[in-house]
């Protein structure tokens, strides 16, 4: 077995019905499990950015990226290792405020994990934590003693560490936006 690690695949595509299925079918056909996926429209109307993470090896990722490029609605695709990227995720924690013994220290913990309070109720608080997967799981461990009622994590978002911009990725599209 080749050494596996997390790769991030960034796909820019048309924002269109069915495109996600075409994309994920290329992963499932190769028995690749998608660890996380984040999709949203970019600053350019009609273009979506998909950030997909998989656990795999270099060769598989290289071939996969080339196969994704063959989807007609896809503009560009890049495969990255973690070191190429600035990575972030967002998590929301619904934490109980009922644990009186620890009640006083909750504030300190929230400060320590650099989270933001989104909602404050008598019985619970919803806090937001943004950071890497590791930072979020550290926050989870810190908050666990208070009683986590509910927890949700977004998929990864990531940007490449260089001066390239999305418009640099999509020069051809610029020319054709008229139609």
């Amino acid at each position: 077995m080749k050494t596996q690690k997390i790769y991030t695949i960034s796909v820019f595509s048309e924002n269109r019905i069915g495109l996600l299925n075409k994309l994920t079918a290329l992963f499932s056909r190769r028995r690749l499990n998608i660890e996380s996926i984040t999709i949203s429209e970019t600053e350019r109307k009609g273009i979506s950015r998909h950030t997909i993470t998989i656990l795999s090896d270099q060769e598989v990722v290289e071939n996969l990226v080339k196969q994704i490029r063959k989807i007609i609605e896809v503009f560009v695709v890049y495969g990255y290792e973690n070191k190429d990227l600035v990575i972030s995720e967002t998590a929301l924690f619904k934490v109980s405020t009922q644990n009186l013994e620890l009640g006083s220290s909750l504030h300190e913990v929230l400060h320590k994990i650099e989270s933001k309070i989104m909602m404050l109720e008598e019985q619970y608080v919803i806090v937001e934590k943004t950071g890497t997967e590791v930072e979020i799981m550290d926050a989870y461990a810190e908050l666990k003693p208070f009683g986590i009622i509910e927890f949700v994590r977004s998929g990864r978002v990531a940007l490449e560490k260089n001066m390239k911009s999305i418009t640099a990725y999509l020069p051809e599209f610029e020319l054709n936006t008229i139609n």
Binding site: S13, E14, I17, G18, N21, K22, A25, L26, R29, E62, N63, K66, Q67, R69, K70, I72, E73, V74, F75, E172, F173, L175, N176
Partner: protein, 585 residues
Amino acid sequence: MKITETLNTTKNKAAQGAGSEQAITGAEAIMRCLVEEGTETIFGYPGGAIMPVYDALYDYMDRINHILVRHEQGAAHAAQGYARVSGKAGVCLVTSGPGATNLVTGIADALMDSTPMICIVGQVKDTLLGTDAFQEADVMNITSPITKWNFQITRADEIPEVMAKAYYIATSGRPGPVFIDVTKNAQQDKMTKPFVYKKCKQLANYHPRLVPKPDQVSEAAKLINAAKKPYLFVGHGVLIAKAEEELMTFAEKSGIPVASTLLGLSAFPVDHPLYVGMLGMHGNYGSNVLINEADLIIALGMRFDDRVTGELSKFAINAKIVHIDIDPAEINKIVKADAPVVGDAKEAVKALLPLVDKKEHTAWLNQFKELNKLEYEKVIKAEILPHADGAITMGEVINLLSEKTKGTATIIADVGQHQMISARYYNFAQTDGWVTSGGMGTMGFALPAAFGVKVAKPKREAIAVIGDGCFQMTIQELGTIAQSKLPVKIIILNNNYLGMVRQWQELFFNNRYSFVELQNPDFVAISKGFGIFGEKVATREELEGALERMLESDVPYLLDVTVLKQHNVFPMIASGSGVSEMRLE
């Protein structure tokens, strides 16, 4: 009287104006698109959700020839046959639900074998989508992984642009099937704007590279000029790019031995001194064994299918690889390329030609000839010139057919032993002489593909070579052939077995013949029932005369040839073996 006439004239003018200026229905727009793209023949089958288009077709019968198949799979394979020899997109027209799902095998086959095809498919009206309506199937998701592109049209106005895109995508770059799902309302509704057709020439996000990068070409040329034992593999890409002439010039200048993949057959004449044989599991002996002696392999428009490489770790062990392909995703997919060249085969060879040295590789070439002589002695002789009192062999039939047609027919072979034998023993002298289902290995492909070929090339002799198993998978298309009066010739190589599976059961499953023997109907009687003349050939004495009568016929003609019942195709690279472990017996 006079007044009435004037009135009529005005009316007629108004009617004409409506045709060209004013709104037409989506269904008619589809017809107009076909005409604009120069599609003369389509293959189809009507049904509920495509009826508006069939109604529009009624007015276009003078411009569009529609061939009514007997099963939608037949339409798909016919369109493939048409596309494979014409280079134009083959078009199918079918209804929703089962009509669409019956195309699936053909679509998958077309994707595997890079065949331009456009499937225009009816769908329930948009308001019914997702409600389990009658004959509704989620064909967009079904066909996503097996098409180059698919699109669902829900408004009549979308039709011209989407159709133009469909033709462009299907036929450009690495060709492939495109699936267009048209909801019934989009067919029935009038367009809200005048029909204007603009052929698609480029797309924002799809840029097939035709002309290769010069640095890739010069890197490849460097390796070619340095090689002592270079070896050229010719694939389907050469036929698709129509690069046969360039290939010939290149081969003759460089003096490099040429072998062909199954789908590359007929791109290079078999009797050329540089031709050393077919690659792959049942290819020629020298052409396979010497892959491991070559110090350079130039793969031109082929994709290193596992049936070509055999066990990958034992493939091309001493060779550097120049891989020329239009699809960048093929580079390094199976075999790592030392010098990848992404581009169209024709453009790539043209670019390489001035850079390669004029050379001869006589000693190297002779190595192939020696091994092929051995193959002749051990295998071929007995196959094409069998013992006079034994049964007819498949190779004997194909060899005789090859002689009678001087290698100039187009052979459309199905899948199995008869396919390998046809590939091995027909001496292809002309390009587009071979159509078969390579990547998918779809049984039942040949009969419908054969009339597709005949439509595209009416002057070519189109001969379907079919096994008795395959024949029964799409036998109903005899009806299409009869009704369309397409003079297709059909040879059934009949051993009452699923021969290739039986061969494997004999060689690798200890003679345990599990469900491979067939109780066949009387094919000649069936053929006659369809109105197609047929002859049974049971003895050697009857063979030559029957072949001659078949070839002389200007109407469809079927020969049911009884061949040796238990016979194996050799040489063979067994599953898991390397190319140099090819068995002669």
